[in-house]
């Protein structure tokens, strides 16, 4: 399920990630998979859709499905007064917008600070995590976009 760029990245010295925070946790997505970073958007709700799907939005004439990453990771909902940002990714030709709390910088992360998922990681997180980078003072979880978008129907219902 790993995407190609990821495999390629691991053999190199370092890799670039777009970093973002969700509920104070730092996450990273390979920079090449990111199409856009957006501020708060007008999102159209999609009735009857799984709860993780926040709705659909218009990105320069393309319809993008918005995923609430907090919901997806079963984290408490964002309080109403905090703003949100989105990272737009391409998955199998479709665009998805991942709604996160904040988007940080692009970081070049050395391969030697990469580690596999610790065995103690919550299974729900392990499912979407492609490994951990040890950074100064904090840890970065690599988000596997393909897995993130694979929603189990049982959860959705």
């Amino acid at each position: 399920m790993k995407d190609k760029s990821m495999d390629a990245g691991l053999t190199e010295e370092s890799r670039e990630y777009v970093t973002m925070t969700v509920a104070d946790q730092l996450f990273g997505i390979p920079v090449l998979t990111v199409q856009d970073v957006l501020g708060p958007q007008r999102i159209t709700r999609i009735p009857l859709s799984p709860p993780e799907i926040a709705g659909a939005l218009n990105l320069r004439g393309r319809i993008v499905t918005a995923i609430d990453v907090r919901r997806r990771l079963q984290l408490p909902a964002r309080s109403a007064d905090t703003s949100s940002m989105s990272v737009v990714v391409d998955h199998k030709g479709e665009l998805y917008s991942l709604i996160v709390d904040a988007v940080g910088e692009v970081m070049s992360l050395p391969a030697d600070s990469y580690e596999r998922n610790p065995a103690t990681l919550d299974p729900r997180w392990r499912e979407v995590s492609g490994g951990i980078y040890r950074l100064k003072g904090k840890l970065l979880v690599v988000l596997e976009v393909a897995r993130l978008l694979e929603m189990r129907r049982a959860d959705a219902a």
């Binding site: 007008r42 999102i43 159209t44 009857l48 799907i53 659909a56 218009n58 004439g61 319809i63």
Partner: protein, 886 residues
């Protein structure tokens, strides 16, 4: 030049250049079946089109070449250079003919007897199995190039090289050929180049995907343009005004232009029809005149492709079923030549295609009979249907029956497929038929699938688009206004021109309630109703607001949303927001019995797991006086009527009403009921043959589908028992009781078939696990003269068998807990005292394989549940014949 001819020239010139290449390849790989069949297909197409366009010379040459290829394909001829060059020669001849055709629009005079003769000689060469002279292949190879050089006697004898006879020389000849080929080819190329078709130069073939891509880009541009215009409207006097307006016009023209590249005249879809009709008229010995009007009407090629087959099928149907033979037509006072008319025209954003014939019209009686035979509806249901409703049966799956299948029709594409295919592309089919005058199908389809016109509505703070083609009208409903929403139990309905329109709340359907709007405010406010039609089902969608219609570009929904069946796509509006497009089909499906299904489940849960009845029964719920609501299976009711209280008369002290030219007795539900003398009196009409009776009720409440379980059986006459219907205790009415009140001999009515005599005193065993059916059928059967014993399971029935009871006939349900009806029949038939007793299956499972299985395990007959008349008739026949045999 004729469009058809121009297209033919373009296509054939292309095919021939392709053939040149393919034939050469074939010579090198004589055993490649794929190559061979490709060549065969190309030549075959050329021949076919020539024949169609009436070009006999071309057709003859192509035909002779095809013959050779056919024999090669069938393995009767082997590929030899001689054969290939001869075919190439005939291709050159075709090219020559085509160039003349292009200049003069007619085939040149003359004939190709010599060439054809040689082609035929080669084709027949296989049969005569002339001894192969391998050496002769070489001169043949040399003879490849100039046409004149081939006019040698050696060629006309063109013997076939048999590989096994002389393998080595054959190999040589192939090598030689491979060498000589490029030369030959370049020569041929020169020839072709010299007379390169000028027509072919005027059009370019472009891949469909290129056009599709272009269309998508233009759609995006249109959306962006719409957005810009929206912004422009909010700002006055900006420097952008003029350039934006230019952009607007250019975009519109570009959109039109790109649309045009995808547009094709509908005549393209019709081009094969004249031939089809000609063949049909021979096959069916009918005289048929095909008229095609509006062939130049253009529509999107994607749509065109999709309607080709449905159109062909409809025309075939007209010719086969619609039109009468010449003799019948004369008898009916019509000209002996039948006419099929195709008429296409634009109407709004749609194209309308009418396919009509002046034949006999739809045979309504036959359709009714067939619908009954195929168990598509019960007799009472059919009796209650209008002619228009009956006609719709022809669109039902599997309606075409064996009696109808001729070599022409019944080839597996039924009318149901026609309708499905048309509906798939957002179209509709209407059907009009007048007996003796003819039938017409009216197909309405969108011009293009990419851009549709949609109505924008709002509900629960969200906006949605509804495709305009499904929208019939809009109704504003507000309390105190002309239109008010009424409720029957949980279901909302609207009175629309004297008809009740079922309503679907978009808010409930899509779970749009998030507490923003409180209930009281909503119910007091106005509601808009979008009257929507899906197939024959018309219903209203309740929304909060209705905006404009907008041209929208349909985009598919993201794959992770495909499971949500309510949307057919999404789009971006002029203001830049994303909006979901509602799928009226999905809504109709989801709303069918929505509220009721829930209550039915609730009732079932209450009743506990002990209930086994899983048959769902459609019940009509009504009220008489106060107290408990009453219900009766809908299938027993022929019609619901309302009569004016003043029109109720009395005869012999009993209320009567004049109904359809006859006197119909009216029966009150109980003796204390007072017949209304004023206002509307609703009645439930039951019919049997020519007799009808009306049951007087106060109010018809609802029609519900329930898993029925009778909780308490009643001792009161006229009531079978009580059950929970829509969450309320309801009396289930014994119709038999009232039928006898109206006509004491109602069931004895069967006498006219001598049934009564046969049934008198016959012992009948009824095996059914459902108390409802036992309670419904037992009185009915005993009134019909049977001595009825009931058993609630197969085991209990077999117990009676062991106990030494005898019966004249056994009626058994199929679906029962424990031993089912099939097993029961098997057991009875295998070795029991009842081996010879007629067994009648009574079931809701009437699929052909069930019926087959039933017969295999030993059921004498198979009857649909609730088909009262069929049951009584079958029983009388069965017991009658059993007695005759005994």
């Amino acid at each position: 030049m004729d469009d058809l001819l121009r297209e033919f020239l373009t296509e054939t010139t292309e095919s021939i250049s392709l053939l040149d290449l393919e034939l050469v390849k074939l010579e090198q790989n004589p055993n490649d079946p794929e190559l061979l069949s490709n060549i065969f297909r190309l030549v075959h197409t050329i021949k076919g089109t020539c024949g169609f366009l009436g070009l006999p010379r071309l057709e003859a040459v192509a035909h002779a070449s095809e013959n050779i290829l056919g024999r090669v394909r069938d393995g009767e001829l082997t590929v030899t250079p001689a054969a290939v060059s001869l075919i190439l020669e005939s291709l050159d001849r075709i090219k020559g003919l085509l160039s003349v055709l292009e200049q003069t629009e007619a085939e040149p005079a003359g004939e190709d007897g010599d060439l054809i003769q040689r082609l035929n000689a080669l084709a027949e060469g296989a049969a005569s199995a002339a001894p192969a002279a391998a050496e002769q292949s070489l001169p043949v190879v040399e003879a490849l190039a100039p046409v004149e050089a081939e006019e040698t006697p050696a060629m006309s004898a063109a013997p076939i090289a048999e590989p096994e006879a002389a393998p080595a020389p054959a190999l040589v000849s192939e090598e030689a050929l491979a060498e000589s080929k490029p030369a030959g080819k370049s020569l041929a190329a020169e020839v072709v180049e010299a007379k390169e078709s000028t027509v072919a130069m005027q059009s370019i073939r472009v891949g469909v995907d290129v056009l599709e891509n272009l269309m998508t880009m233009v759609s995006e541009l249109v959306l962006t343009r719409n957005q810009l215009l929206q912004i422009l409207r909010s700002q006055k006097d900006t420097e952008f005004t003029t350039p934006l307006q230019r952009l607007n016009h250019v975009t519109s023209e570009l959109q039109e232009g790109v649309m045009k590249t995808r547009m094709q005249p509908i005549g393209n879809a019709w081009s094969k029809l004249p031939r089809l009709v000609r063949d049909l008229s021979h096959e069916l010995s009918k005289k048929i005149d095909l008229q095609m009007l509006g062939a130049e009407t253009e529509l999107d090629r994607q749509v065109l492709e999709l309607i080709k087959d449905p159109l062909t099928h409809l025309v075939r149907n007209c010719a086969d079923h619609g039109l009468e033979g010449p003799a019948d037509r004369k008898k009916a006072g019509k000209p002996d030549t039948g006419r099929i008319t195709l008429n296409a025209f634009h109407e709004g954003g749609h194209i309308v295609i009418e396919i009509s014939d002046d034949g006999r019209g739809l045979p309504l009686d036959k359709i009714r009979a067939k619908a009954l035979a195929n168990k598509l509806a019960t007799e009472t249901e059919i009796a209650a249907m209008t002619d228009q409703q009956v006609m719709q049966f022809i669109f039902k799956a599997g309606f075409s029956t064996a009696a109808q299948v001729t070599s022409v029709s019944g080839r597996g594409v039924g009318m149901d497929v026609v309708r499905t295919n048309i509906e798939k592309i957002g179209g509709t089919v209407e059907l009009k038929s007048r007996p003796g005058k003819g039938t017409s199908f009216i197909i309405k389809i969108p011009l293009t699938l990419a851009i549709v016109s949609a109505l924008i509505v709002e509900c629960g703070g969200e906006r949605f688009a509804i495709p305009q083609i499904s929208v019939l009208e809009l109704v504003r409903a507000a309390p105190g206004s002309e239109s008010t929403i009424e409720r029957i139990n949980d279901a909302s309905v609207l009175r629309l021109r004297n008809r009740l329109l079922p309503l679907v709340s978009l808010r409930e359907l899509l779970h749009l309630d998030d507490g923003k709007v409180d209930e009281s405010k909503r119910s007091s406010g106005e509601t808009f109703i979008v009257v929507t039609q899906v197939g024959n089902y018309t219903f209203g969608i309740m929304v909060d607001r209705v905006f404009d219609t907008e041209e929208i570009v349909v985009k598919p929904v993201a794959p992770i949303l495909r499971d949500v069946g309510m949307f057919s796509g999404n789009t971006i509006l002029g203001d830049g927001s994303v909006i979901m497009i509602l799928d009226p089909n999905g809504i109709a499906e989801a709303s069918g019995g929505q509220g009721h299904a829930e209550t039915a489940h609730a009732a079932e849960e209450l009743a506990g797991p002990a209930t086994h009845e899983n048959e769902r029964v459609t019940l009509l719920v009504f009220r008489v006086g106060g107290g408990t609501p009453k219900a009766v299976p809908l299938s027993l009711i022929a019609r619901l009527e309302e009569v004016d209280g003043k029109s109720i008369e009395f005869g012999d002290g009993r209320p009567l009403v004049q109904y359809r030219g006859k006197l119909m007795p009216l029966v009150p539900v109980d003796a204390t009921y007072e017949t209304k003398r004023e206002g509307r009196q609703p009645i439930l009409v039951f019919t049997d043959g020519s007799r009808s009776m009306g049951l007087l009720v106060d109010e018809i409440v609802d029609i519900v589908e329930e898993r029925l379980s009778i909780e308490m059986s009643a001792k009161r006459p006229g009531v079978i028992g009580s059950a929970i219907v829509s969450g309320k205790a309801t009396d289930i009415v014994d119709t038999g009781h009232y039928l006898i009140q109206a006509y004491p001999d109602w069931f004895g009515n069967m006498d006219r078939q001598g049934a009564r005599a046969a049934s008198d005193g016959k012992r009948l065993l009824l095996v059914d696990d459902s108390p409802f059916f036992r309670n419904l059928l037992a009185p009915l059967l005993s009134t019909a003269g049977y001595e009825v014993t009931t058993a609630e399971s197969a085991d209990q029935a077999l117990g009676l068998c062991e106990a030494g009871r005898d019966f004249d006939v056994i009626v058994s349900d199929i679906e029962m807990p424990g031993m089912d009806g099939f097993q029961f029949a098997e057991t009875v038939r295998k070795n029991s005292r009842w081996q010879e007793t007629p067994l009648v299956a009574l079931t809701s499972r009437t699929a052909p394989q069930d019926i087959d299985r039933g017969r295999q395990v030993g059921f004498t007959d198979y009857i649909a549940k609730l088909d009262r008349e069929a049951l009584l008739r079958t029983l009388s026949e069965t017991t009658g014949s059993a007695r005759g045999a005994a």
